[in-house]
Symmetry: none
Subunit: 409 residues, 2 copies
């Protein structure tokens, strides 16, 4: 395996620099070109300004083996990528006969001769460049030689960009095993980072990236010479070092792990949610095929709902409160009974921003898991004042309790 | 109104250049800084490479009045933004006493002394820089002087970045009235665009941007000379032109509109969800204060759950199927009865990717609303083969049915 060649991505459009649209092309292109031996060093978004774009392209085409642009190839006066590329490379543009033929049927749609002329600007091709024919739109792509390699111009709309990129990449040799993606829950990012580094001792040619999300950390192991078997062996070591908090080594989400484990064990699941408000069920039902595992759930937000739908005894609620070990256990048992499920999980806590007390502050969440063998409760104090983060992390804890119960971890 | 000052945004993280995460910070920051007189000229994503980042920062801080970075401020060896900024500006870093005090409680969580030392790297501050205290995480922001203006370092996670940016921006003079943000649901983007353009006829100095999300379109009216009252008058015209599909003119989400309307009317709500799997309840409970409105919900994924928890007659399920007008009505009535709510909404459909038939294809969703005055059903054929998009759009329809019922629209 040779070292990856450097690449840059340039997304063009004032809707990006003005924040009116989130750029998803960069992530998609960055992933796809890795499998052909390129690594993105820099990604740039610029507005529809021909001089500014030309400067960016001149700089990047001098140093990167591959520069990919998206956007600015349409027919309007805002579409400046062809002209900027010509300026950056110091070459001319000329109409391409095959593109003129392709575009001619579209001219009939415009009664305005100016509009028709604008359509034909899409036939202009950089001197010596190869044309990538459009399949889902009217804008053609182009591939031009640069001082350091190639410049590939692609249209901006993802549904036009995607097939054109795939078609161009399919001609290049595939050079790299997909990275391995380990999922970890319940540990801080910095602990996972240290465990992963310990796990990688003695494993050469493996790159490491650790990403944190609320309640979830992902460990990415990249093949930097180790090869497929070296990568798999590194993943085994890292998973062993992280321990039972590592729930997946093949890129699965925590909810996918729960659904697959329950399906494999032939177990059914139910949920009783208070502070997570439906997020545990939402995460599980987001997995295609969840219907073979999840019987259902109750979002018991009001105390009356806990009493009426989950058979939580009113006296217990009055004595211990909704956020308590006792209520969490009663909710899980109630859900297990109501749905006739093998395993039920419950959540009850203070999501905030209001509602916290000295005894039960914002972020305090009780969980319980009920099975045929009994019910056990767990408590977490989630250290965030952010309602959305408390709910996300509580959801991850609930899913992890299900995983551990199903797998006997 | 003076000309906008030039700004650049730098998002740091190999997860971005490797395409493992879509960058949403750039769009958010680009929008927010416009209201303080900055216009983004260039946005750059770079990996966790200190030398590469330093070069980018050196180039951008020489020409832009404002450079904002996100990411790379955490405790791991991947977090290189502080060091790169110091290199770019040719200044040193030193531990800040207030940040050491702030971080000390977090050290106790780490048994490993290396991890504790790493946590303290977050106390390092650029020479002469101002500290932006963290509110939702442990990473502090920094504001440093540059040759052309200022460099603002912000954390990468949006929920940490957002309040810190807002707090810093709040000190700068506002040079432009905040845009008005209208929410529209149930209409295609192109129809909303045309209605908004008609609504703006005769209103001068108002810019228009239309953004589409699954099930939701947002119309942004920007003050380009109209002034505050001109903007408000334009919003009234646009809302009238769009009609009852316009649910908010002050930036509220659809779920917020439902919670506020129900709270104002003193009405309680419940939900019975099949294909949305908890998303309707999740959206409502995401609104702080939802507990005064939502009594709860049942995620009735299995038919047995529909029968046992929502009292859907087994014969009705057998005759018409789970995805039917009859089942949707029975589910809504069952939820209304079980929770004792004023209004209940139900969803039952084929989310995909499997499970579609000629009669009931993927994307077919039945909804019902039950009140004291009766129950009525609605059907939608959602034209997407994507499970997540079908679920999101079905959730928006269910929330909109609640809104229309509560407000009598």
């Amino acid at each position: 395996v040779s070292a990856p060649k450097s690449a840059a991505i340039v997304t063009v459009g004032s809707e990006l620099t003005e924040g009116l649209r989130v750029d998803t092309n960069t992530a998609e292109i960055a992933r796809d070109i890795q499998h052909r031996g390129f690594r993105v060093v820099e990604a740039v978004s610029v507005g529809d300004d021909v001089a500014g774009l030309a400067l960016v392209l001149e700089r990047l085409t001098r140093v990167h083996a591959l520069v990919v642009t998206t956007g600015g190839l349409g027919p309007t006066h805002d579409d400046v990528t062809r002209e900027a590329a010509a300026m950056a490379l110091g070459i001319g543009v000329a109409p391409d006969p095959s593109l003129i033929e392709f575009l001619t049927p579209f001219l009939a749609r415009h009664s305005d001769p100016d509009a028709a002329e604008q359509v034909l600007t899409q036939a202009l091709v950089l001197s010596g460049a190869e044309v990538l024919a459009p399949t889902t739109g009217t804008a053609a792509g182009q591939v031009a030689a640069t001082p350091a390699g190639v410049l590939v111009l692609l249209p901006g709309p993802p549904r036009e960009m995607r097939p054109m990129l795939a078609s161009w990449l399919s001609r290049l040799p595939s050079v790299r095993a997909t990275a391995l993606d380990l999922g970890v829950t319940g540990l801080p990012e910095s602990d996972v980072q240290l465990s992963a580094q310990r796990g990688l001792l003695g494993h050469n040619g493996v790159g490491l990236t650790v990403l944190a999300r609320p309640g979830d950390v992902r460990v990415l192991l990249l093949d930097e010479g180790a090869g497929e078997s070296g990568l798999a062996s590194a993943a085994t070591s890292v998973a062993a070092e992280v321990g039972s908090a590592c729930y997946a080594t093949g890129g699965e989400t925590l909810a996918e792990t729960v659904v697959r484990a329950a399906a494999a064990a032939g177990l059914t699941v139910a949920a009783a949610e208070s502070c997570t408000g439906g997020m545990v069920c939402t995460a599980i039902t987001d997995v295609a095929g969840a219907s073979s595992v999840l019987l259902g759930g109750v979002v018991a937000y009001a105390n009356t709902a806990k009493i009426d739908l989950l058979a939580v005894p009113p006296g217990l609620l009055a004595q211990f409160g909704a956020v308590s070990e006792q209520t969490a256990c009663a909710m899980a048992q109630g859900a297990r009974d109501s749905f006739g499920a093998d395993i039920a999980v419950s959540t009850t806590g203070v999501a905030g921003p209001g509602g916290g007390t000295a005894d039960k502050p914002v972020g305090l969440v009780w969980f319980a898991v009920a099975t045929a063998h009994g019910t056990h409760a767990t408590v977490r104090q989630i250290s965030s004042a952010d309602r959305s983060a408390v709910r996300s992390r509580a959801t991850a804890v609930a899913l992890d309790l299900l995983r551990r119960e199903i797998l006997g971890v």
